[in-house]
């Protein structure tokens, strides 16, 4: 019996049946078929607990949402303290929490002047794309093939067909895609001087964290400048210290015109996102500040949490820990790759963002499953299933990092076995 007070389930099977019946049959079935029968029950720090009681180390972190781990005590205390005073607030009025958080964010981001809040990453992307259109009075948006910026109207149109065509939301005439790391293709796309914005994840996450080629992002920036297109950095997965600096674009020395952040900004306990824009992109905030309205975007509760998230990320201890974790996995993945070179063929890394490449079209699906069986939850890249997304949190300690590596080692024979099976591995 799983009694949660408000509701209860007899068993995990009971839950799965209800999830299929009332929630999402396709998603529920997908994971069962993939051999990942996870239903997250308890959660604490970097641990998830399945309804069976089995413990998993979380290296998925929902793309950095759980950067600080699950239910980080300091953030939980922050939200509780906010709830004793604030609620979501009235989005029509200036507010202490929103103003304070906006200032806090802007001060982390040289070149930016305003923070415009949303409730999720997709909304922040909507704001960015609308801002680009307002500022340039152009309509077209360029993104990269296999890029990912969310599932809402404009954002989904920038991304992979898999998510847009099914809902007839693709708009090829306005949303153009170019190959990643292909600067000539971008030049051709922007050359007509009719593109409002070029949006790019600083390291494309859902594509499996392929690293931008040396100088690529700066070359993109330069092309944008040349053709009057705004450079929009999507920092939803690369921001918040995960690359070793607050924002990924800072580590590449590339100055965006505007950028978006989300996921971990709410510490995994309150949804909030933001689009930060430079003064020159902030025109509509002067002309008609209510042109974009969001009841839950910039909730004051989220602002208090986000304010604390930024504060925590700026602590020298956190920055040092990110370095330690990054160095540790740099060394250990290199060592493992040397040892398992038959299947483990590449490591992409910047800070605590890692993509591990496996020599099979669905290699990461098999490895994800093998790791799951060995107590580690890391998800494959949806748009490149050769690559396992490997996302350690910024507060991981040495002992747990070592345990992760030990468990990966133990999982390798099983991964090999799954990969040898003909056809689909999972």
């Amino acid at each position: 019996m799983f009694n949660y007070g408000y509701f209860s389930f007899d068993s995990k099977a009971d839950l799965l049946q209800k999830a299929t019946e009332y929630w999402n049959p396709g998603k529920t079935k997908f994971w069962q078929d993939a051999g990942i029968d996870l239903v997250i029950d308890g959660r604490e720090g970097y641990f998830l607990y399945d309804m069976s009681g089995r413990r998993l180390i979380d290296l998925h972190l929902n793309g950095g949402t759980y950067n600080f781990g699950h239910r980080n005590p300091e953030l939980v205390a922050t939200l509780k303290s906010a709830l004793d005073y604030f609620d979501m607030g009235n989005h029509w009025f200036p507010s202490v929490a929103r103003a304070a958080f906006a200032e806090k964010l802007v001060r982390t981001a040289p070149g930016m002047q305003y923070a415009i809040f949303g409730a999720g990453g997709a909304e922040a992307v909507e704001i960015a794309l609308k801002t680009a259109r307002y500022t340039t009075k152009r309509r077209k948006i360029v993104s990269i093939i296999k890029g990912y910026h969310g599932h809402s109207g404009l954002s989904v149109a920038t991304g992979d067909e898999r998510f847009s065509k099914i809902f007839l939301a693709d708009r090829p005439e306005e949303f153009i895609q170019v190959p990643f790391n292909d600067i000539d293709a971008l030049d051709r796309a922007l050359r007509g001087r009719d593109v409002a914005g070029f949006i790019i994840e600083t390291i494309p996450a859902t594509y499996g964290f392929p690293m931008p080629a040396e100088g690529y992002l700066q070359a993109c920036r330069d092309l944008c400048t040349r053709y009057g297109t705004l450079y929009i950095a999507d920092e939803v997965q690369t921001g918040l210290m995960r690359t070793g600096q607050m924002w990924g674009w800072q580590t590449y020395g590339v100055q965006p015109d505007l950028f978006v952040t989300g996921k971990g900004l709410g510490g995994g306990i309150y949804p909030i996102s933001a689009c930060l824009v430079s003064e020159s992109c902030g025109g509509w905030l002067h002309e008609d500040g209510a042109a974009h309205i969001s009841t839950s975007g910039g909730s004051e509760l989220g602002c208090v949490v986000g304010h604390q998230v930024i504060d925590m990320l700026q602590r020298p201890e956190v920055i040092a820990n990110v370095q330690s974790v990054a160095q540790f996995f740099q060394r250990e993945t290199a060592r493992m790759m040397a040892q398992h070179s038959d299947i483990f063929v590449g490591v992409r890394q910047r800070g605590v963002i890692l993509g591990l490449e496996f020599d099979h079209p669905e290699g990461a699906v098999a490895v994800s499953r093998a790791l799951y069986e060995h107590g580690v939850w890391a998800i494959f890249s949806s748009l490149d299933k050769r690559v396992l997304q490997f996302k350690p949190g910024v507060l991981l300690d040495a002992a747990l990092c070592q345990e992760i590596v030990d468990r990966m080692e133990a999982a390798m024979p099983r991964a090999r076995e799954l990969l040898r099976k003909p056809a689909r591995a999972a």
Binding site: E74, S81, A213, R315, N321, S324, A334, A338, G346, D397
Partner: protein, 516 residues
């Protein structure tokens, strides 16, 4: 919330939201950082460890006077020139003392068919007192380095600023010499609840507790391994075989040293009746003031107003204390001597005083002296130190065997003697008070207490041969491996897989190239 309350809050600058305790969260992160540093440092070889120890000792030595002045200014206790000396003694001489103690390399013993591998504790939580803040910090930092541990300091709040600065300085010196960053850290805002939480952390491997009795007990109650030391209250016996002149000079030097803040300082003089007069003359000649009965009463009232030591007097000068107590002494006076007739709980002046005030009691013979000494220790100071002045070897031995202490300093100043600076005891700011003093260690604490050994023990049957270790080595990591800055971005995209693999193999070889 009622409107009335709201109205009041409008005029109140106190935060309207109850913020979570930042110090606690930051300290937890510091412990994790120490965990990383300790992990990396545990793989360093002896040459690297000694190089870092020397670099830290040098930084400590260079700043010895700077921090002595700072500590006196911040805490109001002690004497700058004496603190300078203590700080200096806790730098190079400490490393000199342990120069030949190898806590890094494995030991192979073919006769016992055994190999012993040192394993550092990991993360040390080190408490430092207000009385000896910097010398204790220097000492514990060097102990940590010599044993390849990371250390995180929790300073006494009275000495918070100088300790934070000194820890940062030693950390910088260590890192510059190749140590992993985060090896030496300091809690910024120590408080009782914070220190208690840290002491109970399962990421702390051992607590080095120096401080008040309650703090030491809290360390032992934390659930973590702890080395805590109890308070001192050294009884000093002046035998009729002693030379009164030299004994008095040593005692006054010792008792006035840093205004008596070392826990090893003399507390109660037990003078053989046959030497009483000569000894009093010698004390006066050495710079002591012998108090009249009225002055003794004034001192007692000032120092122990309600039976407990008045902390305002700790580390203050004899002249200042006399003045506070209500009488005057000439400015050259270094020590106040208060003749008493009782020892034990009925006479507060026979308790630990931590200021240049000595109690003095005349005893009829050696046996009586030993008995009174033990009576004093029964009240406080068990397991700590005592001193013996005299030439009679039998009595020295009998004195030491009768007393509940683990060190008896003979014919030397006790402050410096028990702490290992005027004797061949280990130089230490942690005087193990052992089982008498409710502690786990009875000797002066050294780096050897922060390392345990993994022993490979072969079958002792002669038919099973011992292995040949002549060509076997432990693998160490090059000192710079753990302290490197944030990783460079992985190989740029576009590099083909073979090249990437080569790059990684090169990297690996680089990492293991420093193997010895």
């Amino acid at each position: 919330m009622a409107m009335g309350e709201r109205g009041m809050q409008l005029h109140d600058d106190a935060p309207r939201l109850a913020m979570p305790d930042r110090s606690q969260a930051v300290a937890a992160m510091q412990i994790d950082r120490a965990g990383w540093a300790g992990r990396a440092f545990a793989r360093y070889d002896r040459a690297a460890v000694m190089r870092i120890a020397r670099a830290v000792a040098e930084a400590a030595h260079q700043a010895a006077a700077h921090y002595a002045e700072w500590a006196v200014r911040e805490t109001g206790m002690g004497v700058v020139e004496h603190k300078t000396l203590k700080n200096q003694l806790s730098a190079h001489p400490l490393v000199d003392f342990y120069e030949d103690l190898d806590l890094v390399s494995p030991k192979v013993d073919p006769d016992r068919k055994m190999v012993e591998i040192p394993k550092p504790a990991g993360v040390i939580l080190a408490l430092t007192p207000a009385t000896n803040p910097i010398s204790t910090l220097y000492y514990k930092a060097l102990l940590a380095i010599l044993s390849r541990n990371a250390v995180i300091f929790s300073p006494h709040p009275l000495a918070r600023a100088c300790c934070a600065d000194a820890a940062a300085r030693l950390e910088a010196a260590a890192v510059a010499a190749g140590a992993p960053s985060g090896l030496i850290q300091c809690i910024a805002n120590p408080s009782v609840p914070l220190v208690q939480a840290l002491m109970a952390s399962d990421k702390v491997q051992v607590i080095l507790a120096t401080g008040g009795g309650p703090m030491v007990r809290a360390a032992y109650s934390s659930g973590n391994p702890a080395i805590g030391v109890g308070p001192g209250n050294a009884p000093v016996y002046i035998d009729d075989s002693a030379d009164p002149g030299t004994a008095a000079a040593w005692i006054v030097d010792s008792k006035s040293f840093d205004n008596s803040v070392l826990c090893t300082n003399e507390s109660v003089l037990l003078v053989h009746a046959a030497r009483r007069q000569a000894f009093e003359r010698a004390l006066r000649a050495a710079g002591a003031h012998l108090c009249s009965d009225a002055e003794v009463a004034q001192l007692r009232a000032y120092l122990f107003p309600d039976g407990h030591l008045n902390t305002a007097a700790v580390g203050k000068s004899a002249v200042w204390i006399a003045q506070q107590a209500g009488f005057r002494v000439v400015p050259s006076i270094r020590v106040l001597v208060a003749p008493i007739t009782l020892a034990g709980i009925d006479e507060p002046l026979s308790k630990e005083k931590l200021c240049p005030v000595l109690a003095m009691l005349t005893v009829d013979d050696f046996a009586r002296g030993t008995g009174v000494a033990q009576m004093i220790l029964r009240m406080s100071g068990a397991g700590h130190s005592a001193a013996f002045h005299g030439k009679d070897a039998q009595r020295a031995l009998d004195f030491a065997s009768a007393l509940s202490v683990y060190r008896v300093v003979v014919n030397a100043p006790c402050s410096q003697g028990a702490a290992g600076f005027a004797t061949h005891l280990a130089p230490s700011f942690m005087i193990g008070t052992g089982y008498f003093g409710r502690s786990s260690v009875g000797e002066n604490i050294g780096p050897q207490h922060l390392v345990h050994w993994t022993r490979l023990a072969w079958n002792k049957d002669a038919s099973v041969p011992f292995a040949d270790f002549s060509a076997v080595r432990l693998s160490y990591e090059s000192p710079d491996a753990g302290s490197r800055p944030a990783p460079a971005p992985a190989a740029p995209a576009g590099v083909d897989r073979d090249m990437l693999r080569q790059l990684i193999l090169q990297e690996l070889r680089g990492l293991t190239g420093g193997q010895k």
